[in-house]
């Protein structure tokens, strides 16, 4: 067990564990935010695990999660827009904190792998992760306004 996997265990236990609590309890607006944060935190954890196991091909997992995680949140934002419209979620602080964690992990890994194709892939994953989760959070707090439904 090295520092990378230990950090991944901390992110998973602390971060994803907290989002699990958030998604299982409380009002709907808190649950959707917690669902978005769960992918925003699991993706850096997968990157850390890939580095910890020294398996560059595991970065594909983080790539797919960085792409599809925010899309999954868009599904909830779109199909629950009626329920969320009256009571929109506001979670600027935690969303930016999760985005910051993702960016920090990507930067640390970039320093560890050095310049090259692996670094380019990491930067793509980082951009998709941070951009995707910020947009998904925006979509939850009023991204969809239904025109003709009460």
């Amino acid at each position: 067990m090295n520092g990378w996997t230990l950090t991944a265990a901390l992110v998973l236990g602390g971060g994803v564990g907290a989002t699990l609590w958030g998604v299982a309890t409380g009002p709907l607006r808190r649950r959707v935010v917690a669902q978005n944060l769960s992918t925003a935190l699991a993706c850096p954890a997968l990157l850390l695990l890939s580095q910890g196991y020294d398996r560059p091909s595991y970065v594909d997992l983080a790539l797919v999660l960085a792409l599809l995680g925010p899309v999954g949140t868009l599904v909830f934002a779109r199909l629950l827009s009626g329920e969320l419209a009256g009571d929109p979620p506001r979670a600027q602080g935690v969303t930016w904190a999760a985005a910051g964690l993702g960016a920090a992990v990507v930067l640390a890994l970039c320093v560890a792998v050095g310049p090259g194709r692996a670094m380019a892939k990491l930067l793509v994953v980082g951009a998709l992760l941070v951009g995707g989760n910020l947009v998904a959070s925006r979509a939850l707090s009023g991204g969809f306004r239904e025109v003709s439904r009460g």
């Binding site: 091909s57 595991y58 594909d60 997992l61 790539l63 797919v64 792409l67 599809l68 925010p70 899309v71 868009l74 599904v75 934002a77 779109r78 827009s81 998709l128 951009g131 995707g132 947009v135 925006r138 979509a139 009023g142 991204g143 969809f144 306004r145 239904e146 025109v147 003709s148 439904r149």
Partner: protein, 246 residues
């Protein structure tokens, strides 16, 4: 059968299953041990056929026949959904109301759509080299198309998604798998035996003999199947309404 008897029946069945499971678990080798008789043989067979990802070798070479069965299950399941969720005589289609999407969300969907499509194709193409393959890549590619529904509206998705063609593509890909198997039978030794094509250079895109071909067939089959499946669900949820007064 009254409630009490049914409860006893469930308890007896569940209890028996639990006893069998515990008995099986007690006989398992210890977690994380060093002895992997099946794994060692699978890795050896996979390396001898220049397939870098042993899982792809197991799925599309050593147990390609199992994968044919799995593909048939997906095909039959989607076929069942298509029949079950068709538009019946007492239902009509209503035009879906357009949805107003915030500009950043719309831009995000339009930027990510090609990236996700490309990632799906990348995962399919690299199935024999790195984790992934036809199933995973196919689902990602099919999901990518539905960003048009999430980021724009349903009519935009309908324009690029002629469901009929995807149904044909599904069937063509499924038969391509069988035809590759038959080609192996005619040109090589047995149905789906990986002996026809050259194995290529280890760790390149063209390595692995028939593995990349079967991978591509599965990728197309899964992508088309998911598109058709979601099309039926979306039709039912967004467009089809029961005739009023019935």
């Amino acid at each position: 059968m009254n409630r009490r008897t049914r409860l006893w029946l469930v308890a007896a069945g569940g209890g028996g299953l639990a006893v069998l499971l515990v008995a099986a678990c007690l006989e398992l080798p210890a977690f994380g041990g060093a002895s992997h008789p099946y794994g060692d043989r699978a890795v050896r067979a996979s390396l001898s056929r220049h397939t870098a990802n042993t899982i792809a070798s197991v799925n599309f070479d050593q147990r390609a026949y199992d994968t044919l069965g799995e593909m048939t299950i997906l095909f039959a399941a989607v076929l069942g959904c298509v029949v079950l969720l068709r538009q019946t005589r007492d239902e009509h289609r209503a035009r879906p109301e357009p949805e107003e999407v915030a500009p950043p969300v719309r831009r995000y969907a339009l930027v990510v759509l090609p990236v996700a499509l490309l990632t799906g194709l990348y995962v399919i193409a690299h199935g024999q080299l790195s984790p992934g393959g036809g199933f995973q890549g196919g689902v990602v590619a099919a999901t990518a198309l539905h960003l048009l529904y999430l980021g724009a509206d349903y009519r935009a998705l309908e324009r690029i998604r002629p469901v009929g063609r995807y149904e044909v593509g599904d069937a063509v890909a499924a038969s391509a798998y069988v035809i590759t198997g038959l080609a192996c039978l005619i040109g090589g030794t047995a149905f789906l035996a990986n002996t026809v094509l050259p194995y290529g250079t280890f760790n390149t895109l063209s390595s692995g003999g028939t593995v990349p071909l079967l991978n591509a067939a599965i990728g197309m089959e899964v992508a088309c199947a998911v598109v058709v499946l979601l099309a039926r669900f979306l039709d039912q949820a967004v467009e089809i309404e029961e005739e009023s007064g019935k």
